[in-house]
């Protein structure tokens, strides 16, 4: 589903964030991307979401070569990926419902379908009762769940999360991870960047560890 082939990423300031990175994630797989801050986790996710492009090497996502994807196709490409951020990235002047509905509105989905799917999605994250509230009225954990509901509402085949539990206490973090597991169980490919090794070491999923922009030496490549 996601394949990196000898990928380099060098920023304009000559900092090399990724060097010769190769790995592959199978369709329907769930994996953690670990490493210290500055190890290149965010850069890697940005390459998948096409927020950045690789300097060298190829990235394939869902059988598409990202370096061949023109700028005008990026919006349509991104609709296949649900993104979850550490700071939620919610729109604070819109209700929970409208936030979650955003991807569907962008796709031009019809009104009734939007209502149905947004509520299903909010129900899934346990926030159906808060649909009329503004994000600011919710706790951090709830805001993160709104972010997840938005990421999955258009049923993308891939879910990427960048430090989704970064600001949450351990109990809430476990809840969030369980949510991700549930999506994975219905076939979504889930890829989560985290530095919280305590949290994920007990979970039975592959870890892809980065160290200075490369796979950590202990890594076994499939």
């Amino acid at each position: 589903m996601i394949q990196f082939m000898d990928v380099y990423k060098r920023y304009a300031n000559r900092h090399e964030a990724l060097s010769g990175l190769s790995f592959e994630l199978q369709k329907g797989e769930m994996a953690f991307l670990t490493g210290h801050s500055g190890a290149g986790k965010s850069t890697l996710l940005k390459l998948i979401a096409l927020i950045e492009r690789s300097t060298h090497g190829q990235v394939f996502v869902n059988d598409q070569n990202l370096s061949r994807l023109s700028k005008s196709k990026i919006p349509y490409y991104r609709r296949q990926i649900g993104l979850v951020f550490q700071d939620h990235n919610l729109l604070h002047d819109r209700t929970v419902f409208d936030n979650v509905a955003l991807p569907l509105v962008i796709e031009g989905e019809n009104h009734r379908e939007i209502g149905r799917r947004v509520r299903a999605s909010l129900d899934k994250v346990g926030l159906l009762s808060k649909e009329r509230q503004l994000p600011i009225a919710l706790s951090g954990g709830e805001q993160q769940r709104v972010g997840i509901a938005r990421a999955v509402v258009s049923r993308p085949p891939i879910l990427l999360a960048d430090e989704p539990t970064g600001n949450l206490d351990p109990d809430l973090s476990r809840d969030i991870m369980q949510l991700f597991e549930q999506f994975n169980q219905v076939g979504v490919t889930v890829f989560i960047a985290t530095h919280d090794l305590e949290l994920v070491k007990a979970m039975p999923y592959r870890h892809i560890a980065l160290e200075g922009g490369r796979l950590a030496p202990s890594q076994t490549q499939p």
Binding site: I51, P75, R78, R79, L83, N89, P103, I106, E107, G108
Partner: protein, 312 residues
């Protein structure tokens, strides 16, 4: 297939309607700053439109004298009646000459006597100081100026003619002043339209910058540039439309304040003149011009700034 197509069109229009109302709602939620922008646009549109209305009124008044290029020929004193009749026959055959009337020196004297009220003074003169006069009308109204001028020149060159005079030269001067004003107002209108464009562009630019993070989020969840652009274009649309209506209202208010004193002034001259407002015409054109400027200004701002905002 056809049904699917009409369904698509319907949902497309519905989406536009939603964005349209959404943009209006945004303006409504910031009534004070929206009103200021609308007022600036309104005044900028009202000024040239108001001048246009006044100018049209002046044109209307001066247009009542259609025979602007009537020419008077003052004849030499020593011409015989026969010479004069020959001259009249000759001139009538000229191109561009329509009717030619003739008034003898005696008739001129009579006319002057009645109009001036200096009858007894005239009686004391040994002989008639006034010349015979021919009044010449061009073949058609509104001949171009150079044609009239060359006609006038040819007439002056005739030996029988002491002086050829364009009677309503002042009216022509007024008309050319009007033309000048018209051009001035057009230029002013152009400049003020440009400033409306800049005001709207700048307002939209600020609202784009205010919504930078929102735009980034939208791009991250797969919004196309067109989708992101749309509400801003509609915001420009509303600014222009409401600004146009505001201009219309302002103009009507100003004209209603002017119309009373103008009517009073006209009545002092014994005229029935009353100010024409062109209210219907302007009600159509002001919002239309506003909408055009609004969308265009927004489009310029969006084109410049939207591309620069990318998620990072």
């Amino acid at each position: 297939m056809k049904k699917r197509f009409s369904l698509n069109v319907k949902s497309y229009l519905l989406r536009h309607l939603q964005v349209m109302l959404f943009s209006l709602g945004r303006l409504w939620r910031q009534p004070f700053s929206s009103l200021m922008t609308v007022a600036v646009i309104g005044f900028a549109l009202a000024l040239p439109a108001g001048l246009f209305v006044l100018l049209q009124n002046v044109n209307h008044v001066s247009g009542e004298w259609d025979d602007a290029s009537q020419i008077s020929l003052f004849l030499e004193q020593d011409l015989s009646e026969k010479q004069i009749q020959q001259l009249q026959k000759k001139i009538v055959t000229w191109p561009n000459v329509g009717e030619v009337n003739y008034q003898t020196a005696a008739q001129s004297l009579d006319e002057f006597r009645t109009l001036s009220g200096l009858g007894s003074l005239l009686d004391s003169l040994p002989d008639n100081p006034l010349p015979a006069v021919m009044t010449l009308f061009p073949a058609e109204n509104n001949l171009p100026d150079d044609v009239i001028q060359s006609l006038l020149h040819d007439l002056s060159a005739l030996p029988e003619v002491a002086q050829a005079q364009l009677d309503m030269a002042w009216l022509q001067r007024l008309r050319s002043i009007n033309k000048l004003l018209e051009r001035g107002i057009s230029l002013l209108g152009l400049l003020l339209s440009l400033s409306v464009l800049l005001v709207i562009g700048n307002t939209i630019r600020l609202s784009i910058l205010n919504r930078q993070s929102e735009i980034k989020v939208m791009k991250l969840v797969g919004a196309t540039d067109r989708f992101i652009r749309r509400p801003f274009l509609y915001t420009g649309f509303w600014y222009g439309f409401i600004g146009g209506l505001f201009a219309w209202g302002t103009l009507l208010l100003v004209l209603s304040l002017l119309s009373q004193p103008i009517q009073h002034l006209a009545s002092l001259y014994g005229s029935e003149f009353s100010l024409q407002w062109f209210a219907g015409l302007l009600f159509f054109y002001l919002p239309l011009v506003g909408i055009f400027l609004g969308i265009f200004g927004a489009w310029l701002a969006v084109g410049r700034h939207l591309h620069a905002i990318e998620p990072n």
